[in-house]
Amino acid sequence: MTDIKILSEPLNTEACTRWVMTPDSGGINVFIGTVRNATKGKPVVRLDFEAYVPMALKEMQKIADEAFTRWPLNKILIHHRVGSLSVLDIPVIIAVSAAHRAAAFEACRYIIDTLKQTVPIWKKEVFEDGEIWVAAHP
């Protein structure tokens, strides 16, 4: 079962974690992305996230489907936030439950790594003296 959402409100770690828990799960792995105060030593004022929402949801669903074929999992949750985020805000939460912890760890890592490569979501880092779309240029 999956819960995949793009939200403009703050993400809720506790609710996400609770949602993936099932009586037949022994291990839950959760990845929480947080906005860091600096990039390569340069202070970050905020991050602006935008998404091509219908396609981003489809791509996230594909990643979850692939994870279910690769590992014996119970539930997968992927919540991604859009809009303007400050330091310590949470852009992404991925939570995975499984009977055994190895599958939960590996699938969670696979999901965040793949999300960063394929899901049409973009972030702009805003500094005191300018801004940059992350990964846009070689």
């Binding site: 992305g33 996230f49 935008e50 998404a51 091509y52 219908p54 396609m55 981003a56 489809k58 991604h80 852009p91 992404v92 965040i112 999300l115 960063k116 490569q117 394929t118 899901v119 049409p120 979501i121 973009w122 972030k123 702009k124 779309w133 992350v134 990964a135 846009a136 240029h137 070689p138």
Partner: protein, 80 residues
């Protein structure tokens, strides 16, 4: 009939708006559309990558575009 193409992230900034109309897109391949866009907006050639989505799926260069398709310009993604 012109086809509207959605633009996101830095592509939107380069183009200056979130939708760009391409008059000659119907029947064109995705590869040809990419060249056309790069020609019209040379700053797009400086991106690490430039994908086109057709109806919410990544398209290959050979994909033929039809009127009614939802098209989008996908600059390098950076979610998470």
């Amino acid at each position: 009939m012109a086809i509207n193409i959605l633009a996101f992230g830095i592509a939107k900034e380069i183009i200056g708006q979130s939708v760009v109309a391409v008059a000659e897109a119907d029947g064109m391949s995705v590869g040809a559309l990419q060249l056309l866009l790069q020609n019209r907006y040379p700053a797009l050639t400086r991106l690490s990558s430039l994908a086109i989505a057709v109806n919410g799926e990544y398209a290959t260069a050979g994909t033929i575009i039809h009127a009614g398709d939802e098209l989008a310009i996908i600059p390098p993604v950076s979610g998470g």
